[in-house]
């Protein structure tokens, strides 16, 4: 187990370094110069050079990249901002604020959005999928299957706008989407996020219903399920002890990856509901050529995916003893 963790963490670090290097190169491959944008209209070559130095982009690319990497581990010194403690992700070109604290500021919104909707779609998706699997071929199965097919073909921005219009503006059932920190007021936190949760989980529920159903149907046709029946186990026991165990592995795997992606920022959801999470932050960073911010968000997103990958593998090994961690 320890070996597995150490090996995977080393692997994860390598992946993150490669991703950051790619972002660096891609950013400079774009023809726009962040210094010129920051410098404004009346910009002399001297000021431009100064801005470059201030932004830390006067040096050659490998040096810049190395400085950035070094900042994460030991911190770095800026002429205009002073010392930045490790882990230092630098300062935004745009707002001049610390990237790390900006991300720390925005992350709770994304976290609340993804975790909340995950709970909803897991409960409903797996529940409906299992129900459909038990009642294979019956009306319940057909309704669940077609409903999930329709739901999964919907788009968040359409459903989001529609839900806001109907539930909030017309019927006044729920509150408009907003973010209140959980620690400030849990009730307001939940109330403000309910509409995005419902919308986001509607589409994901559909996916998980279909996946759970097909995994359960497959597991129910396994030989060991037949053996369990042959030794007198009831349908119920077989369903929950044997088949569910077999179906769980793939579901956990997909869920881990999905959650990783969601934590990196649900760009469309956040912009549909005007929530200031990581997704919105990354959009803004791209549109304003804000390299440090973009790198920071990409790193957090990539780290989320990588970390959940490791967790998934660990959980999978727990579910399926045939998988050994080494």
């Amino acid at each position: 187990m320890l070996r597995f963790l150490v090996r995977r963490i080393i692997g994860a670090a390598v992946i993150l370094v490669i991703i950051s290097a790619i972002v660096f190169v891609l950013f400079y491959a774009a023809p726009r110069d962040p210094a010129r944008i920051a410098c404004g209209k009346a910009c002399t070559p001297e000021t431009l050079e100064l801005v470059r130095k201030n932004l830390g982009i006067a040096d050659p690319l490998p040096v810049q990249y190395f400085d950035w990497l070094k900042g994460i581990f030991v911190g770095r010194d800026y002429t205009s901002f002073g010392h930045c403690h490790a882990p230092c992700l630098g300062y935004s070109f745009q707002s001049r604020e610390s990237v790390l604290s900006t991300i720390a500021d925005r992350f709770p919104t994304t976290l609340s959005l993804s975790l909340g909707s995950s709970v909803i779609y897991l409960i409903f998706g797996i529940g409906a999928g299992m129900l459909a699997a038990v009642k294979q071929g019956k009306a319940v199965d057909k309704i669940a299957s077609s409903a999930s097919l329709i739901a999964s073909s919907m788009q968040i921005y359409v459903v989001g706008v529609l839900a806001t219009y109907l539930l909030v503006d017309q019927w006044h059932l729920l509150d408009r989407a907003s973010y209140t920190p959980f620690t400030d007021n849990p009730a307001a936190w939940a109330k403000g996020l309910l509409v995005p949760w419902i919308v986001l989980s509607l589409i994901w529920t559909a996916n998980y219903t279909r996946m759970t159903r097909s995994q359960m149907v497959e597991a129910l046709s396994e030989d060991y399920v037949r053996t369990a029946r042959a030794k007198g186990m009831s349908r119920r026991t077989v369903f929950f002890r044997f088949a569910w165990r077999g179906a769980m592995g793939p579901i956990v795997t997909i869920f881990g990856l999905d959650l990783g992606v969601l934590l990196g920022g649900a760009i469309i959801t956040e912009s549909t509901f005007s929530l200031q999470g990581l997704g919105m932050l990354s959009v803004k960073a791209v549109s304003t050529n804000d390299l440090p911010m973009l790198l920071g968000v990409v790193m957090v997103a990539a780290a989320a995916i990588v970390v959940f990958n490791i967790i998934v593998d660990g959980v999978y090994a727990f579910i399926d003893p045939r998988v050994r961690l080494a």
Binding site: G137, Y224, R226, T227, A230, K231, G232, M233, S234, P321
Partner: protein, 341 residues
């Protein structure tokens, strides 16, 4: 003699599919006494596995139509409730399957899988069930059973997995054991071990065994009586000696002629059965074997293709064929001389 322990009368197992009704078993009858082993021989699609899944009531009721009678110790199984069947399965009757790796749950330890069967039927505690599992593993010849009881199936070798499966099937001392090709996936040396084990256990417990196989060699080793199935019907029945020495059905004869032996002549080609097993969706008319039968032309008229021959039994010995006994003696004689040489 009293009523047989297992009695099957005119069993029909039909599956509804999108293409039509598959008549997997179509009018099968046989009896089995305690302490005897009945070998059921047949090729893929002959209905041998379907029959035995029907005895255990393991077919999906949504697409399966069961007809006829299955009497286990006097109790009718076809009409029995699901709850009653659950009480019997793994307890009074149990089954071992061909592919032990796929048939054991990969997610539970060997001990847990054996123990839960015991607990289900005896209500024993976890501790008692575990001790019983270790005891059963010892009985089927697993070395260091107290250690291996906590292993998962994938940690066992092929032969050991099949032993574990047998331990699981026998944990509640069943009176009927159905073995569905239990040695087909195993190497010959391991197959020999497993068959010896089954024979020993049968002597010890007096279990009635149904042994399903496609291999007449295995039948010769383990069975007392033989039932040959073709296209969902019994075509020949008798003791092992009768069926192997003087086969009465052209299909049985064909099976024997298809099998190379370790001692027979090598320079003569095998005499295979032409054609392929029938489709059960549109089975041939009349005798289901007639399109592949080399003797069908010896029967006057088109009897073979129009009329299904009845299984005529005297003292449990007989076949379902339109050929007369005299014709068979004459036609099958070549075979007999080839076998004795």
């Amino acid at each position: 003699m009293s009523t047989p322990f297992l009695s099957i009368r005119d069993l029909r197992v039909h599956f509804g599919t999108e293409d039509g009704v598959v008549k997997a078993v179509d009018g099968l009858s046989f009896d089995l006494e305690k302490g005897r082993t009945l070998g059921i021989v047949g090729e893929s699609g002959s209905g041998k596995s379907v029959t035995n899944l029907a005895v255990l009531g393991l077919h999906d009721p949504r697409n399966t139509k069961l007809d006829g009678e299955i009497l286990l110790d006097g109790k009718e199984l076809i009409t029995a409730s699901e709850r009653e069947m659950e009480q019997l399965r793994g307890n009074k009757m149990s089954m071992i399957f061909q592919d032990a790796l796929a048939s054991l749950s990969p997610y539970h330890t060997i001990g847990a899988q054996i123990g839960e069967t015991y607990r289900k039927h005896t209500g024993a505690s976890k501790r008692v069930a575990r001790a019983r599992a270790i005891e059963m593993l010892r009985r089927v010849g697993i070395p260091q059973p107290d250690m291996r009881v906590d292993d998962y199936p994938h940690q066992f070798s092929g032969g050991m997995r099949q032993r574990a499966m047998i331990a699981m099937a026998l944990v509640c001392d069943p009176e009927l054991l159905i073995a569905d090709e239990p040695t087909t996936a195993l190497d010959v040396t391991v197959q020999a071990q497993i068959m010896d084990l089954l024979k020993d256990l049968q002597q010890e417990f007096g279990t009635a065994i149904i042994f399903i196989t496609h291999d007449l060699g295995v039948i010769a080793d383990i069975a007392d009586d033989v039932l040959v199935m073709y296209g969902g019907r019994c075509v020949e029945k008798g003791t092992k000696q009768e069926v192997l020495r003087t086969p009465e059905h052209p299909y049985t004869l064909g099976l024997l002629g298809s099998m190379p032996s370790l001692d027979g002549p090598v320079d003569v080609p095998l005499s295979p059965i032409p054609g392929a097993p029938p489709s059960l969706l549109n089975p041939p008319s009349g005798c289901r074997f007639h399109p592949r039968c080399t003797f069908a032309e010896k029967v006057p008229g088109d009897l073979c293709s129009t009329e299904q021959p009845a299984l005529k039994l005297t003292d449990g010995r007989g076949s379902a064929c339109h050929l007369t006994p005299e014709q068979k003696r004459e036609l099958f004689a070549d075979y007999a001389t080839a076998r004795t040489n």
